[in-house]
């Protein structure tokens, strides 16, 4: 189910008066009720954290019309309560970002690398938000509207989390949403501090405190494993969870390795981000090597719903919440693959 009736129409570019009143409603504390009524568990958490209520404050008279070429920047704008008018690859949002749901009125620009220029020119935005990764398009985009580049993942950026904080503030200032920017930064910090405090205070059994491997399954033989220097790696550290991967990494904060490489790491638990290829579980079940890995033997293997690994603070917060829930889940059947996915996934 989509939230178009709630958010989409409200944040659509052509209905500012309605948007204003809806936002007031949301700010008035109806957000939780509305999301709950929509039976959107993923959104419900957003509401539970109070993000929608806190950041969708009253806007200035004419908010800038912004086209965005990056999911991370788009989710940050949504958190400010200022949805972009256009977004690259908007149709894949539900697979990779999931929450917050994307207002339906946002125009899809096609591939980020090759955003549709005719469409963009017709929309005539006031501002285009881009990243260093899309530098080759900048000159063309600049003919349509001023382009601003925000670097989260780039060589020389050592901490995507710190970069997200810096760029969130910069973006907030640029869009006249400084207060919302500060609130988002503070909320992210507070959420992760709270999780860390809770985890250390509760002092669960030792196995649950061991290092955690966070992976995306590429196929039945390979994973992308997230290193401490990526956004999710940093979130793990901030939540007081040790990262099980001590091997190589790149500036995006991951390594693509064969599953046997995981055996070299002394990890107590493995968490796999959705989507997981459908044959992986079956193939791995048969593998003596996989079954001899300590975390598999102990049954500490879990899937969590998709979260944007190359995003900004909203994705970091979503992942922190999913991580926290996964670590609290009791060891299930041996592989944990059969764990019910219903209710974890907004649109699955």
């Amino acid at each position: 189910m989509r939230t178009d009736g709630l958010q989409g129409a409200a944040f659509g570019p052509r209905v500012p008066p309605a948007a204003f009143s809806r936002r007031r409603l949301l700010a008035g504390g109806l957000a939780a009720a509305v999301f709950a009524a929509g039976s959107l568990p993923a959104g419900a958490v957003f509401a539970e954290e109070g993000l929608a209520a806190r950041f969708a404050g009253p806007a200035s008279a004419a908010p800038p019309r912004v086209a965005v070429l990056d999911y991370g920047l788009a989710e940050t704008m949504l958190a400010f309560g200022l949805p972009p008018v256009a977004l690259a690859e908007a149709d894949d949002w539900e697979t990779w970002v999931v929450e917050p749901a994307l207002p339906e009125a946002i125009v899809n620009l096609g591939a980020a690398q090759e955003a549709n220029l005719e469409l963009l020119a017709a929309l005539a935005p006031d501002l285009i938000l881009s990243t260093p990764w899309l530098a080759r398009s900048e000159a063309r985009l600049a003919r349509i509207a001023p382009v601003e580049t925000y670097a989260i993942y780039a060589p020389g950026v050592t901490s995507p989390y710190e970069a997200s904080v810096t760029q969130t503030r910069r973006l907030a200032a640029r869009l006249g949403r400084a207060a919302q920017g500060e609130a988002l930064v503070a909320a992210a910090g507070a959420q992760m501090d709270a999780i860390r405090a809770r985890r250390t205070a509760r002092a669960p059994e030792p196995a649950l405190q061991g290092p955690v491997l966070l992976v995306s399954f590429l196929d039945a033989r390979h994973v992308r494993v997230y290193a401490p220097n990526g956004l999710f790696g940093e979130v793990m550290a901030r939540c007081g969870v040790a990262n099980g991967w001590t091997g190589e990494t790149n500036y995006w904060g991951f390594a693509a390795v064969g599953i046997e490489r995981l055996a070299e790491m002394n990890a107590a638990r493995l968490i796999a981000l959705e989507p997981v290829p459908s044959d992986a579980a079956e193939v791995l079940d048969r593998s003596p090597l996989w079954n001899s890995l300590p975390f598999v033997k102990a049954g500490h293997v879990q899937r969590i719903p998709a979260a944007l690994m190359f995003g900004m603070l909203p994705s970091a917060m979503r992942f922190a919440r999913l991580l926290d829930a996964a670590l609290d889940a009791p060891p299930g059947n041996r592989l944990g693959w059969a764990a019910p996915r219903q209710g974890m996934h907004a649109h699955g």
Binding site: N108, N116, P132, P155, L218, H222, W252, A256, R286
Partner: protein, 661 residues
């Protein structure tokens, strides 16, 4: 004479295997003290992760490398013998591409099928592609030329898979690794899959040995000796395909071995077919084992996972280049001359028709488009506003297509090889090398830096090709084979980059698939200028181009200096491909398609054929760019890919309708 040659082959094979064994021991020793290895293999202790790694990862990996290498070597030897073409390899027949496409499609639209087993999905795709190729070539009794032409199926599958990857990069991350040919293992499933197939296939190959040897003469001779030519060829092809598909379906694309192992075997002195097949299998196994052991030793130090299949090409290509630089080591049988096609009585009419069609498509691509309000026919002020976006793309596509088709046409006439195209020449690969180098140095390079890198790369490749041409008085096959190795190396680099999951790869993929997105008015103008220059100089080359396909002896008799004419034609083709590659990416499908379309339209003499190729190439590209902008709106399908979708079915249709002779 015979004595040293007899020693070279065992020495090469033995040395290779010894070296591989040493590297492999080192790789085992790094995981577990060597004295413990035999025990771990016999009865691994489940509590000791090192022993489990040796028993269920390293050992099956070694076994897989050996078997896959042998099978690919055999497949290459079989295919090359059956087609009498040293450029034939499992990838030529679309096996790898078909398997890749099947996996992409299933992953995206029917992930449930993956539970059946990834290998079966890939096997189905590979067999379907190869079957289609064979079915298309069957009406003409599987003549080598038609099989190679029908390899367009391979190109189409590759284009489709690339498109899926472009649209759903995140989804297909695993396929990139698979495409890179990773030998990473977690149990004995893969060796158990390969072993019976290797044994069975080898038995069949032995049975085919005698008739295939007779096929090594020419078709007429073989037939007069009572050999069922088409049947033998079909069996050999099917066996080669079976070998290659089995490997590809479980460990991915490790294509270079199928091409290089037979070439190495030949260079080391294997002459008779049986000898060549055995040597190809042993050398293939040795090369893959050595490569994989090296990859294993280097993993971790290199920082990122490198798929073995990609490294194989990086290893193998320089070896092949070195071999090629020693003319006496590699003697190449000349491929069959292009089959003559019926000529149109009035070439001017055909050309005029092509010009009209081109104008119509250009007008349509400028005026018809899609926007926020759906489809529109734009004119007046609306068109003025859209022209800055549409114009450069349409004209850059026109220039790129025309130049590539011209280059392809020149190469095909010069070499008499219907597979010749700018891609095969290696100029596109050179330009792409340059772009990769720029990307590795600067993660977000500007346009001028990208262009500079690509130009430098193209120039280096061009210089290398010219050096080869000088070395061997311009023997066309050698130059082409050198180009193929350059292309394979480039593919390997790209695959390694893609498999590492580095998001920069998407940028590279966009450029490789022939996108006109980045075309500026200046690019389009320059491109059109170079294309016009190329066309204007054609009358100077016309006589040469009519004579060259007749072969060196005829040409010499007619007073044509082979060295000079080959050099000039090569220079022209290389310059045109470099210019096209810089503007619209390595759109080599059009370089292959343009000349074929032109000949199929009945343009046979040099000048009309080249003009027709340029027009057809330009037309296909403009149409492709336009269609690519419309069908998946607001997504844009790169013009090079779209050209493949449009051109391949056309070509295959024409092929299928050519009466059997």
């Amino acid at each position: 004479m015979a004595e040293p040659r007899r020693l070279v082959l065992p020495a090469v094979a033995g040395g290779l295997l010894l070296l591989a064994a040493a590297m492999s021991l080192a790789a085992f020793g790094r995981r577990l003290p060597l004295p413990l290895v035999p025990g771990a293999l016999m009865a691994p202790d489940p509590a000791d992760i090192r022993q489990m790694l040796v028993a269920y990862s390293l050992a099956p990996r070694m076994a897989s490398a050996l078997m896959a290498g042998a099978m690919l070597g055999l497949a290459g030897a079989l295919l090359q013998a059956a087609l009498r073409n040293p450029l034939a390899s499992p990838s030529t027949l679309g096996i790898a591409a078909g398997a890749n496409l099947a996996l992409s499609v299933v992953t995206l639209w029917a992930p449930g099928l993956l539970a059946l087993g990834r290998e079966w999905v890939a096997l189905g795709g590979g067999l379907a592609a190869a079957g289609l190729v064979l079915a298309l070539a069957w009406p003409r009794r599987l003549a080598p030329l038609s099989v190679v032409l029908a390899g367009m199926v391979s190109v189409a599958c590759g284009a489709l898979a690339a498109l899926l990857a472009l649209f759903k990069t995140h989804y297909l991350a695993g396929l990139f690794i698979w495409g890179g040919g990773s030998l990473s293992q977690q149990d004995w499933t893969i060796p158990a899959f390969l072993a019976p197939r290797l044994a069975l296939g080898t038995g069949l190959a032995v049975l085919l040995l005698r008739p295939l040897t007779l096929l090594g003469l020419d078709d007429a001779h073989a037939r007069s000796l009572g050999v069922p030519v088409a049947l033998v060829r079909l069996c050999a092809l099917a066996l080669g395909v079976g070998f290659a598909t089995s490997v590809v379906s479980v460990v991915g694309v490790i294509g270079f071995i199928g091409l290089a192992a037979p070439a190495l075997a030949h260079a080391a002195g294997a002459r008779r077919l049986g000898e060549r097949m055995l040597a190809s299998a042993v050398i293939g196994a040795g090369v893959l084992w050595l490569t994989d052991s090296t990859v294993l030793l280097a993993t971790g130090e290199l920082g990122e996972m490198v798929p073995t299949g990609a490294v194989t090409a990086l290893f193998g290509a320089p070896v092949l280049l070195w071999l090629l630089s020693r003319p006496r080591l590699v003697a190449l049988a000349p491929p069959e001359l292009a089959e003559p096609l019926p000529r149109h009585g009035r070439p001017r009419r055909v050309l005029a028709g092509l010009v009209l069609a081109l104008l119509a498509v250009v007008a349509a691509s400028l005026m018809i488009g899609r926007g926020l309000e759906g489809w529109s026919l734009d004119h007046g002020a609306a068109l003025d506003a859209l022209l800055p976006w549409r114009g450069p793309r349409a004209f850059a596509a026109l220039a790129g297509g025309a130049m590539l088709a011209l280059a392809g046409s020149l190469l095909q006439r010069m070499t008499g090889n219907p597979m010749a195209s700018p891609e095969v020449l290696g100029v596109s690969a050179g330009a792409a090398f340059g772009l990769i180098a720029v990307l590795l140095v600067d993660s977000a390079p500007g346009r001028s830096l990208q262009l500079g890198g690509a130009a430098l790369g193209a120039a280096v490749a061009l210089a290398a090709i010219l050096a080869f041409a000088r070395l061997d008085r311009g023997a066309p096959e050698r130059v082409l084979l050198a180009g193929v190795s350059l292309g394979a190396m480039f593919d390997a680099l790209v695959t390694a980059l893609l498999a590492s999951g580095d998001p920069r790869a998407a940028l590279l993929l966009g450029w490789m698939t022939g996108s006109t997105y980045a075309a500026e008015p200046m690019d389009a103008a320059l491109g059109l200028g170079v294309a016009a220059l190329g066309l204007a100089s054609l009358p100077l080359l016309g006589r040469w181009l009519d004579i060259v396909p007749l072969g060196p002896s005829v040409a010499g008799g007619l007073g044509l200096p082979a060295r000079v004419s080959h050099g000039v034609i090569l220079l022209a083709a290389a310059g045109l491909s470099a210019a096209a590659t810089l503007i619209v990416g390595p759109l080599t499908f059009v370089g292959l398609l343009g000349p074929h379309l032109s000949r199929r339209l009945g343009l046979g003499r040099a000048l009309p054929e080249l003009l027709g190729a340029a027009l057809a190439g330009g037309l296909v590209m403009v149409l492709a760019d336009w269609v690519g902008r419309l069908v998946a709106f607001p997504w844009q399908i790169p013009a090079g890919l779209a050209a493949t979708f449009i051109g391949c079915p056309v070509l295959m249709l024409l092929l299928a309708r050519t009466p059997s002779r």
